[in-house]
Symmetry: C2
Subunit: 456 residues, 2 copies
């Protein structure tokens, strides 16, 4: 007999976990809708030609590929098979893959439906994605992203709206967060110091590790990358980020002569506009070290971390969301000059944190009713009482067998139900039921015609 299990990095969600996940999903969806975003869904299966080359070399490796049906080897070359020449074999045996994120599918959707879409297109999308990553705390192979994007406008009004959405969602979830913001144009202004695009890219990769390896770790990383000439710039970035206010940070940037120019001005101006549109900037932090791995960002970049004091001090799980502006995303599919901006919420990490922080409301109590029949002949009457209660929107179950009352009440109590409606032969005869309040233990006899009113 096989003992069943789950693939590594995947999970089942039982009734309690689902209530929690739905609570978080509904909270987000409510906020998205209050801001006029509309829901779309895209298939889990995408053509690999849509996915490959969009997430960098590392991302390509993490794509789950689906084996073609039937005789999948028929297009392969025997020489390739003998030599295990993967780069020739894989494209011939797998045409499709599993969705890796929701941004590339959005770009594909926009390009394919550009004539029906009304721009600016404000969409949200909440679906699972898959990555063949090594599973660890807060990292799963099947996990949900909840994305909000505005496509077809380059106005910073959208950036402000997305920051507000972050603020509102986490406020409703009762989690304190820090929303980190930076701007690619500001980072671009360091190109002169780095000397070449290659060096600049290398610098960004090193800086992207800051959260994991710290300030000094990035210095070593820069030395290893032959970027000694950029260590001063890195120290400047760190010192500036530690200043107390956005105004001081901006002043410091304006004083650093090596980075002056249009690019810096553009970044600073857009961030200033963005801040000006926000009601509350308390939990918004201008963080110059923020690069975000994805190369398609061209403007503002965001990252959210939970800083809630309800979490244990040593608890660390990484960011729960991020995003940014991308000016060229749809151009990979042939549609130019469509700028977009979006942010993502990582549902699974947020749920993990909600759990540790004890931030979920109490779902254990339900308003439900259990009809308990002491006798098989009572079952049809029990079914009818249940139907009548459902008419007034009460959740009702008929315990499916006339077993001992204790067993039936145990079931009701474990499910957190509020009432038991008990039917024995005496009750059937008198067209009454013993209605027991499961919270107080109180029990009274109620006529069938009165049960609706009594429970309501």
């Amino acid at each position: 007999m096989e003992k069943p299990g789950l693939p590594s990095g995947t999970r089942d969600f039982g009734p309690v976990a689902m209530q929690q996940r739905k609570y978080v999903l509904n909270t987000m969806e409510k906020v998205f809708q209050l801001h006029g975003f509309q829901c779309i869904e895209t298939p889990s299966l995408e053509n690999l030609s849509t996915l490959q080359g969009k997430y960098g070399e590392e991302g390509d490796k993490l794509l789950f590929k689906v084996l073609n049906s039937g005789e999948y080897l028929k297009k392969t070359d025997t020489e390739d098979l003998i030599n295990k020449n993967y780069s020739n074999i894989t494209p011939k045996i797998a045409d499709r893959g599993l969705r890796y994120d929701l941004t590339v599918p959005l770009a594909r959707f926009v390009v394919m439906n550009r004539n029906e879409i009304q721009f600016p297109f404000k969409r949200y999308q909440m679906q699972p994605v898959w990555r063949a990553d090594r599973p660890q705390k807060g990292r799963y192979r099947e996990f949900w992203q909840c994305d909000v994007d505005v496509v077809g406008s380059n106005s910073v009004v959208s950036e402000a709206e997305l920051v507000e959405i972050y603020q509102e969602v986490f406020k409703r979830l009762d989690l304190t967060v820090e929303i980190r913001i930076n701007h690619r144009s500001i980072l671009d202004s360091f190109l002169g110091i780095l000397g070449s695009i290659e060096n600049w890219n290398s610098f960004m990769v090193a800086m992207d590790k800051y959260d994991k390896i710290g300030r000094q770790g990035v210095v070593s990383e820069l030395e290893n990358r032959n970027l000694n000439h950029a260590i001063d710039a890195w120290n400047f970035i760190c010192d500036t980020s530690e200043l107390n206010s956005r105004e001081e940070i901006i002043q410091s940037l304006k004083n650093y002569s090596d980075i002056q120019g249009d690019s810096l001005d553009k970044g600073i101006n857009e961030l200033e506009l963005l801040y000006g549109l926000l009601d509350n900037t308390e939990n918004v932090k201008f963080e110059l070290q923020l690069a975000r791995g994805l190369s398609y960002y061209t403007g503002a970049v965001f990252e959210v971390v939970v800083t809630d004091t309800k979490l244990p001090r040593e608890y660390s799980i990484g960011s729960v969301g991020g995003g940014g502006r991308y000016d060229n995303l749809t151009s990979i599919f042939g549609l130019k000059d469509v700028s977009g901006v979006g942010v993502s919420f990582g549902l699974d990490r947020i749920c993990d944190i909600m759990d540790v922080a004890n931030a979920y409301p109490d779902f254990s109590e339900s308003e439900g009713v259990l009809v308990c029949c002491m006798d098989d002949v009572a079952l049809p009457s029990g079914a009818e009482i249940a139907r009548n209660l459902r008419l007034i929107d009460v959740s009702v179950e008929v315990y499916p067998a006339a077993v001992k009352l204790k067993k039936q009440l145990d079931y009701a109590n474990q499910k957190g139900l509020s009432y038991a409606v008990i039917l024995g032969s005496r009750e059937i005869e008198s067209k009454t039921a013993a209605v027991k309040n499961l919270k107080t233990g109180e029990q009274v006899s109620v006529n069938w015609s009165e049960i609706q009113n009594f429970i309501k």
Copy 2:
């Protein structure tokens, strides 16, 4: 430039389609919850050892298999590769597959969580499944099943509850359906006539084609299968099914001497009990030809077809749901004596039918508000007005750029919004807004402090 497309048999769902799908999903979920069912979700990826051998030979062929990561050929034998020996190669290059239905994952879930689950376990599950079938009308490769099951009780109360759920869901969706019922024990009683298990299985496969090939088609099929001795029984089944009432059908079964015995009695008794628990049996049809392909059913079997007159006469898409009782499902994973019964709703076909039958409510009108700024300096005030309106639960967007008013109003009208709140320099000065009712065209000037009340 690559032109993006979707894998065959998969679809995108835009904002309108998603409103429709959510309407159907929410309708179902509401009914499931009113009957005390609880939601679970299982991973899209399952180990192939969990899935294979559960859906028959044909089912195994239709499983989507996921290529292992990294050097997936390293365990394969070169001889096998040269000879394209699929039965040896496939198990070595693919350990996981995509969920094929929700019933086998439920069985796995119950076995893995048997110590935490409270039985009878009433769960619903609404998730996509994948089958590498040939796409055609009403048949997709990625589609949603919505399943309701009661596990751990053998009481026919659960069968009755599931029939009621079918009735209630389709009533709320405003679709007329026929719920077809049969019982495996009644079909089992034909074993004596058939002469062997093999013949009986062959007879069931032939009968299962009745919907597609008709009564005479099944006769030819029986001849081809060397089951000429069963043609009389087949004609009896068809004649009996055409009788007007359940009572007459049962009487006819009781008069057919070749099938008498415990098995027939059990089937008839359970169906009688089931009917006795139902409030309304008008749309429930006892159909002796109903076999349902899946071999794991052991008791009642169900199938639902839409018979609504809102559909064109020639419209045919097959069943929109089905299910039955299974006494041994968890035993494939090592847990014996757990009986279950469940039914499934095919979301995609139901949505297709709702569309053709024009049965959706009108979603085109939204209660939303668009804030239109005529000038960049109005944007912060626009953002603040939007925030205040959201506090009273109104969906509000700020058009992200100060473009021409006509363009902004076009956007609002196409999205079906109710009000436009227009801010020009004059309005900013006087702290007012021009509030335009987009349905009536009426426009009035409203003080900022009054906008909440005005819109409410």
